[in-house]
Symmetry: C2
Amino acid sequence: MTLDGVFGALADPTRRALLTTLLEQGAATATDLAQPLPITRQAVVKHLQVLAHADLARCSRQGREVRWSAHPAPLGDAAEWLVRTGADWDRRLGRLQEAVSGGSTSA
Amino acid sequence: MTLDGVFGALADPTRRALLTTLLEQGAATATDLAQPLPITRQAVVKHLQVLAHADLARCSRQGREVRWSAHPAPLGDAAEWLVRTGADWDRRLGRLQEAVSGGSTSA
DNA sequence: TCTAGGTGCAACCCTTCGGTTGCACCCTGT
DNA sequence: ACAGGGTGCAACCGAAGGGTTGCACCTAGA
């Protein structure tokens, strides 16, 4: 899994909105998704392709329509990275506090 | 808190590396951070400024040096967004499975 | 005081990104 | 068959991103 792709995809508010919309509605076409937005269908397609490149969205053709759906599994990997990084810091902070306020004066 | 800034800052592998380095080493100057990297000190400074803009890093002047340190609190907010979004999807998937394989045929 | 190391600022380059437009293509329904 | 809606592709544009270089400034230390 590529953290670059996932974080990069989530960095854009329009893409986060598209992702949540897909999660709420289950599946939709680019045309449908573009309608309430102030941008073109083509722009939405580009955003969806970015999401797809991060494996956060997938598309399947049905007749002349292309239905997009969310695939939030990589969110878990990204969350894991965040929590692990933050947890490491918490542990380090805990050790630092121990060292500062702990029993022995020496570090 | 701005998810744009945090996710955007984490989208770059160099910035993630800088962040983890700061978390491991506690604090460092831009010159120190740039030394093992194949990029210029100025590039590192720009990356650190991006991290600072997302409130993921902070700097303080000490004499003629500027020491940078990590501030991973926003990671928790970003992780919360990820988990919440993923959890929503899990609940929806659970309901869908109930509707498909559950007792009553109507949704 | 003078030298050297660390920093900040500004200009510049090339690439990527977000977005638009125009057009060709294909599927659907009458 | 044919009109219409949905899609894909390509070109184009302005802005932002990542990176570099050059130089001025300031602080520490001899």
